[in-house]
Symmetry: C2
Subunit: 296 residues, 2 copies
């Protein structure tokens, strides 16, 4: 199947599911729900849910096996963007070509919209169908994978370290720790969760987890490159901000050419990690190249 077609198709079913899990709400809750939905439906590519689905399919599962968890990843990712954009954090006014959440709803509601999305992600995971399909053991394992990747040993830690590193020259090893946590952990968890819920063997889960680790790193490097070489128009957000803020990036620490070489090598490693898989993993292979070559 053509990757573009696959991404489109899955994006649509993920959007439909997100719309069911977090519907338009009337009554007292309408403003909070509007604020959550504003960022959730701001044109995200749904890369985490799609990775989760593709990973389930690679081990013989289906999107039905993972949908609540796939959506939980997108909700967690969206909350992290809302909080990252706050004046006390990165103070961004533009995200995906639209005003950031706090620019529209104010800081207080933006903080709460983030809190709401994060908590609702776990409510969505409490879906009876999910635990029935997965069984108690795989369900518990996925809950742990999601919460660990998102929490104070994962994404939240990455953001805290990133805040403290701003404007300082840091060791490359420390930059890697920041990226592994801030961007890598959730992407990696997306594919691991897919493999667990798709009923993969422990060996398959391990290999897909390794793939996810490389994918997370590749995603960060390509993000850093795009911040320099991409256009604000294509990306829907300001570019060149990393340098302006004195952020440590792969191009700034290694040079642009070395960063591009690393990106290629890491993509090859990702594909190598799942070399034992059959054609059902072709989409995962294509996604690896897609991340390497993406323009937005």
């Amino acid at each position: 199947m053509d990757l573009k077609e696959y991404l489109n198709e899955k994006r649509i079913i993920v959007d439909e599911a997100l719309n069911r899990f977090l519907p338009v709400t009337i009554g007292p809750a309408h403003e909070l729900y509007n604020a959550m939905r504003y960022s959730l439906f701001a044109g995200g590519k749904r890369i985490r849910p799609i990775l989760c689905i593709a990973s389930a399919e690679a081990v013989g599962g289906t999107s039905d096996d993972v949908m609540p968890v796939a959506c939980a990843f997108e909700m967690i990712h969206t909350y992290s963007l809302i909080h990252d954009d706050l004046p006390a954090m990165d103070d961004d006014e533009l995200r995906r070509g639209k005003p950031t959440n706090h620019m529209v709803y104010g800081e207080a509601i933006a903080i709460l919209a983030g809190d709401g999305l994060l908590t609702e992600a776990f409510r969505v995971m409490a879906s009876p169908e999910l635990i029935t399909r997965a069984g108690a053991k795989r369900f518990r394992r996925v809950l742990e994978v999601v919460a660990s990747a998102a929490g104070a040993g994962g994404m939240v830690l990455g953001q805290a370290l990133d805040i403290r590193a701003e404007g300082k020259k840091i060791e490359t090893s420390h930059m890697k720790i920041i990226h592994e946590h801030k961007t890598g952990a959730l992407l990696r968890a997306s594919v691991a969760a897919g493999a667990i819920l798709g009923r993969g063997t422990d060996e398959q889960i391990d290999q897909i987890d390794k793939y996810g680790k490389y994918i997370g790193l590749a995603f960060q490097i390509s993000d850093d490159i795009l911040d320099i070489e991409g256009s604000t128009e294509e990306l829907g957000k300001q570019t060149g901000v990393d340098a302006e803020r004195g952020k440590n990036t792969y191009p700034s620490n290694y040079g642009m050419e070395n960063a591009k070489t690393m990106l290629k090598e890491i993509t090859a490693n990702a594909v190598e990690a799942i070399s034992g898989f059959d054609t059902k993993a072709d989409i995962l292979r294509q996604i690896a190249f897609y991340i390497m070559e993406r323009k937005k």
Copy 2:
């Protein structure tokens, strides 16, 4: 058993468990963990975990059946306090007699400490022992109870409505909605979760849930009364702030004497809701009176 002794004993085992679930951390994560622990160990009374334990005991369970969930409630409660105190929200400088989280760690880390505590609460719930003891069905039900009470249909909604109501004269019915969500939902969920995990029957769970609904309301009314009649010294936070901010409270909307009468009636309703329980529910009964009479 004497209630004071009971509260002390349970507070100690909850503190020990919290300390295990969120330990002192060295290395890159130490600042974030320090910030989370600063608020988590700032002298909270652990009323939600204790309610959860007492409720499990009322149906024949033990603290071992509920400990990860009991601690999750305290972590969620603590995150909500950190975010509520932020400059963009209530802008408080003092909490439990100590500077608020953002006064010590700055706004960015305070936001992340809150995010971290909320996410870690769900990681703690992923404890293998919990799901093994509870079984998949009760475990799932509790996950849903916790996430629903804390999320955009529960506590987060209450906070959003409270922010929007500030400085406005609102209908008493709307004030009730705010309180049911902001304070009530999590307290109610604490006792419901305890009854579920303690292996209560559906009828027992319903009755305890009703008790929890009244307790949540009683807690809010007594909070409103203390804000007027309590001293900053005893409470460890500024008093008189509700009136200053034009917050709608039970005393402001009904008058102080009526508010006190309502508090007595609601406490009686709470005790009535569990009248079918044997002496194992005596602690729940005593806690109802304790909330009514508390001075801090």
